[in-house]
Symmetry: C2
Subunit: 332 residues, 2 copies
Amino acid sequence: MPPSPLSSAPLRLRRIHGFFVNGGLRSLHGLPVEQRRFAQNGPLRAVDPNGDYVTGQMYVQAYLQAEPSHDVPIVLWHGGGMTGANWDATPDGRPGWLELLLHAGFDVYVCDAVERGRSGWSRWPEIYESAPLHRTLNEGWDMFRLGPADGYHSTAARRRAHAGQQFPQEAFDTFAAQWVPRWAGHEEITLAAYGALLQRLGRSIVVGHSQGGGFALEATRRWPQHVAAVAAIEPSGAPLPQQVPSVGQPLPPHLCMWGDFLSAHPIWVRYREAVDAYCAAVRASGVAVDLCDLPAEGVRGNSHFPMLDRNSDVVADRLLRGLHSLRQEPVR
Amino acid sequence: MPPSPLSSAPLRLRRIHGFFVNGGLRSLHGLPVEQRRFAQNGPLRAVDPNGDYVTGQMYVQAYLQAEPSHDVPIVLWHGGGMTGANWDATPDGRPGWLELLLHAGFDVYVCDAVERGRSGWSRWPEIYESAPLHRTLNEGWDMFRLGPADGYHSTAARRRAHAGQQFPQEAFDTFAAQWVPRWAGHEEITLAAYGALLQRLGRSIVVGHSQGGGFALEATRRWPQHVAAVAAIEPSGAPLPQQVPSVGQPLPPHLCMWGDFLSAHPIWVRYREAVDAYCAAVRASGVAVDLCDLPAEGVRGNSHFPMLDRNSDVVADRLLRGLHSLRQEPVR
C-alpha cells in the first residue's frame, strides 16, 4: 500500500524551485509607439512594442523530497482556464492534492500550462491569433457540474446545487478567483511544452485534470517512454481510438476517473463517450486501464473538481491506490 | 546574527498552500455570444461572455516552517511585469531568495500581484479600462540595467552588457520567459489586495522589488501597524516626502537597496532621487533607515535584479543582516 496522504508530520524537502521549459523568441515590427505612465508619481514614458518577445514557454514548480518514497515523480497538469493553484489548496482552505502527494512521499512538479498563470501570455492578434476566453461564474456553475445551468445566481445564497453535491459551494466565488483567461486552438504549443518537460524529467507519473487530462492522454500516446503511468481526472478530451499506437514502445498503465452528475450535463456525456472509446482501445491493445467511476464505486456527489470537493482526501487515496495497483510498485 | 541562508539541510515545512485575497464579483451584459471550440476533437460550443466575473483578486503562496526561527513572516512582492516566479530560482538555475529565506527559518508568503501570474486578469475594455503592456527584451535589457539600450541584440552572443555585470546574461532569454503582461494605472486595486494580505497576516516583514518596492513603501505608510520592517529592493517609486505620516502609529524600520549602473540609465537616476527624498523624510521623522548602496559598500556589478544576479546569496545575506540589525531581533 502507498503511504497515507493524511500524515501531519512535517514535509522534509531538499528543494523548492521553479523553472521554465520551451519558449522561443518572436520579433514584432511596425507597431505604433505609445506614451504610458508606470510607477507611482512617475513620469510618462514612451513604450515601443516593437522588438523581441519570448512565447510558448511553460512555468513549472518543483517540490523535491529530501528522501522520496517513489522511483518517479508526479507531474500535475491543471484544466482549461486554470493554473497550478488548482492543486495547492481547496477553495474552502483544506490541503490541496499537492500537499497530500508530498505527504505520500512523491516529488511533485506543478505546471502552469502555456498562456496561463506564471507562464505568461503573448500579444494578440500579433502573436496569438485569436482573442482570449474569459469564463463566467454562470458557465462554471454548469460546466463544472455544481448544479443546473439555471441554478446559478450572483448571490451565493440563492444558488441551486445538485443534491448531495460534494463541492464546497459556499466557496465557489473564492474558487472562481483562480480562473484565468485561456485561448482556443493552442493545443500544439501546450503539448510541445508538456513534452519538453516529460523529456527533461526522464520518467514521470502524469496526473491531468479536465483539459489537462486530455493533454495527459495525448502526451502519453506521443511520449510513452517518458510516462510511468497516466491518470486523467475528468478528462474533457482524448485521442481518437484509432490513434492508440500499434507499434513501438507500449503505452504505460492508464487511470481515468469520473465524478457524479454527468447525466445532467449533456456535454459531459459526450466527453465521457469519447474518453471511454479511447480507453477501451487502450485496454484492447493489452494495456492496464483502471476506469474509476466514483459513483459506481459508492463515492457519490463529486463535481468536475474532485480534488477540491469535500471528500478530496478520499479521492486522492483512491487515485494513489489505483496508481499503486496499476504499477505494482515496490514500496520502499 | 540571523541563521545563514546557505544551509543545505532539508527544509522542514508544516504547510505549503495557496490562497486568494480580495476580489469581488463584476457583472457584464450586452456582449455578443461566440461559437468556439475548446477540447481536442471536441464540438463547437456557444460561449456567452455575459455574466459574473471575479476581479481584483490576488494569489498568495504560503511556505510555513515546522519550527519558524522568527516572530514574523517575510512577504515577497515582485516588480512590474513579473510574478512570484521571480523569487523561486535564478534564471541560471541557482536557488532563489524563496529557498534562501526558508533556509534562514522564515515563514514566507509569495504574492502574484493583481492581474499577474496565478492572480489572473480581467477582460478589457469591459472591466480593465486600458490595453495590457507587453515588455520587449529590448526594453528589459536597458530598463533592468544589463547593458546600454543599443547593446541589445536578438542573438545572445551579440549582446553588449555593462562591464562587470553580475546578471547571468547568458540566461537573459530564460529570464524573459517569466515576464508577464501588466496594466498601467492599477496601483489602487493592487494596493488594496496587498493591504488585505497584510491585515490577514497580522504583522510581516515586507520585501518588495522594483514596482513592488514602491508598493511596499506605500503599503507600509498606509498600514504601519501590520509591517514589522520594510525592505524595498530597487524601488521604482515611493510616496512623496510630505506623505510621511506625522501622527498615529510610527513607521517601522526601512531598508532600501540599490544595485550598480544607475548613472548609465537616466530613468533610474530619477527613480532613485524620488526614493531618496522619501527615505530622507522617513529618517527625519525618527525612523531607522538602512540605505544600502551596494556599489558604495564594495559590492559591484549588480543589475536591477540583485536577487537573480550571480551574487544573489551575498545580497540576500546583506538584506538579512540589515533587517536583523534594524529590528534588533532576538535570535531564538
